[in-house]
């Protein structure tokens, strides 16, 4: 008897923390974005080499994504933040409740931050962005200048923004 075994899939990230925030709770205050980003970053970086540097980087990136979500204004429900890490990366997944309009917006915005042309686009459009910043500009900058990966995964009534950050 023979069997075709699929090759083992690469190990996923080791989970570190999961946070659930009500959409209303996040909207209570703009400063919730940075408080949440700082808390998650500090927690994740606490046992790493040079936790202050990693905290600063992670908080900067997470805050940008949370501010984007804040402005995108999902409807009622919960935002779930799950953070894990591999040997090379910290991976944060933000699950956002979506209706059709928001799902389309996420598709459009995240589609415009592809790494292949992010730097060129950011440079070329910077002058006009200063005057009229597009919704995804903060995300674009993360990819263009900071080497962060951003992807979108879609589920049933939810969009998942995946932020992949190198440890160093």
């Amino acid at each position: 008897m023979t069997s075709d075994l699929a090759p083992p899939s690469p190990p996923g990230p080791s989970p570190i923390l999961t946070l659930r925030i009500s959409v209303r709770g996040l909207y209570d205050s703009w400063t919730h974005c940075q408080r949440l980003a700082d808390y998650i970053a500090r927690f994740v970086a606490s046992d790493r080499f040079d936790p202050e540097q990693l905290t600063t980087r992670l908080s900067t990136y997470l805050n940008e994504v949370l501010e984007y979500v804040f402005r995108a204004r999902p409807s009622e429900g919960e935002i779930v933040v799950e953070v894990g890490r591999t040997d090379e990366h910290v991976i944060a997944e933000l699950t956002i409740p979506t209706d059709e309009a928001l799902a389309q917006r996420l598709r459009d915005d995240l589609g415009r931050v592809a790494p292949a042309d992010a730097r060129a686009r950011y440079e070329a459009e910077f002058e006009s962005m200063i005057l009229r910043p597009p919704a995804e500009v903060g995300l674009l900058e993360l990819v263009a200048l900071h080497g962060v990966e951003l992807t979108l995964r879609e589920g049933d009534g939810a969009g998942v923004i995946v932020l992949t950050v190198p440890h160093e």
Binding site: W30, Q34, D50, E52, Q53, I130, G138
Partner: protein, 390 residues
């Protein structure tokens, strides 16, 4: 461990500098408006160059970044002859990337990463060539310092900061001996910190925090450490008081700041003492040309006193070939010989005959250490003071 820092902006007309510190994450142009007003006021008030100091701006969101870009663009129109100099630190990891980008975008903007050259000897101090020198030094000094630290107020379960921690071995030894409640080592050399981390890992120690940082602008909270150390470090900076001010800031009222530094011309080796003396005098001059004061040790007492410390204590670690393992002592001097006649002489373009004479002096010092009839010393000065309660 640090609490969120509030945002502050200060304009010094005298220095033509706006310093932005803390966290700046505005929701939009309206929230940024007060900052913009201060920046516009500064731009109106100065001529020539306006310095924007971002050394202590830890967080800036992209909205704030775009608003700064908008200010720079407006300056180019309103003040065509005004240059903007953005002063950033590599300790804030996003800053060189973002502000470097702005520098490339705007002709009126220059970006200075100030800690690339924030003290003259940096290039010859912060590389991994120095690791063996530091390692051997700590080995030899610790046997004396271990007890001496108690006399200067170090006890168990304290919160300790080791600033300019180098390769982190002192922090490891303190950790083992004094079981601190918390200990952090800060240094501006990435190779040293990598070594420190690797060493801690190999020793199975996970409770020491190492940070890449700038000793003159620490991202550590004020009044938060019982014992703050900076060993053999102030002597290599051209502006030691700027570091000392930070050590004072992070020390708790009633806590102690502990310093060690050398008086290199006091290094002695008999019988060939003239050759030894020449070498150390000349090494001090070379170091001086790089902004270092290798005779800083005895000056600490007056420095601490002048800064208002209480209960200032000072003594000497009297390392000699009579009270120290001969091989270790000799290895320290040999590592100095290698460093001074190699890296340091190359950096300062010493002529070959000078390098040779320097080498002879170090070898004569080693001879004094190893000789049955010889006597050799390497004194280290130790000083500490208590930060007043108010």
């Amino acid at each position: 461990m640090e609490n969120e820092q509030p945002f502050s902006i200060r304009f010094s007309e005298n220095d033509q500098e706006v310093a932005l510190e803390g966290t700046l994450r505005p929701a939009g142009p309206e929230a940024f408006a007060p900052v913009r007003a201060r920046l516009d006021h500064a731009a109106d008030a100065v001529r020539g160059v306006l310095y924007l100091n971002f050394k202590r701006l830890r967080y800036l969101n992209h909205t704030g970044f775009l608003e700064l870009a908008r200010f720079i663009a407006a300056c180019a129109e309103r003040h065509p002859s005004l240059k903007l100099k953005l002063v950033v630190s590599s300790v804030v990891p996003w800053a060189p990337l973002r502000f470097g980008f702005l520098g490339a975008q705007f002709g009126n903007t220059i970006v200075e990463q100030y800690d690339k050259a924030f003290y003259p000897g940096q290039g010859v101090i912060e590389n991994d060539q120095l690791v063996p020198v530091l390692r051997t030094q700590t080995n030899i000094v610790w046997s004396h310092e271990r007890e001496l630290l108690r006399r200067h107020g170090l006890g168990k379960r304290m919160r300790i900061a080791d600033i300019c921690c180098g390769i982190g071995d002192f922090a490891v030894l303190v950790y083992k001996e004094f079981e601190p409640a918390y200990i952090v080592g800060v240094d501006h050399s990435r190779p040293f910190l990598q070594y420190a981390q690797q060493m801690a890992r190999e020793f199975g120690i996970t409770d020491i925090e190492y940070q890449f940082g700038d000793a003159t602008h620490l991202f550590l909270p004020s009044n938060s450490f019982d014992f703050v150390t900076s060993r053999l470090a102030l002597q290599i900076f051209n502006d030691p008081s700027s570091i000392l001010r930070e050590l004072v800031r992070i020390c708790k009222p009633g806590g102690r700041v502990y310093l060690t530094n050398e008086m290199t011309v006091h290094n002695y080796g008999y019988p060939r003492h003239e050759s030894v003396a020449w070498t150390y005098q000349h090494a001090v001059k070379i170091a001086q040309s790089l902004g270092m004061d290798m005779n800083f040790g005895p000056k600490m007492f007056s420095l601490l006193t002048d800064m208002g410390f209480e209960d200032v204590r000072m003594e000497q670690i009297p390392i000699t070939n009579n009270n120290t393992a001969i091989d270790d002592f000799a290895r320290v001097i040999e590592s100095w010989e290698e460093y001074v006649t190699g890296e340091l002489s190359t950096a300062t373009q010493q002529p070959p005959e000078v390098v040779e004479r320097l080498r002879m002096g170090f070898r004569d010092h080693v001879y004094a250490i190893r000789s049955r009839r010889g006597f050799a010393t390497w004194p280290i000065y130790v000083a500490s003071g208590r930060k007043p309660e108010r």
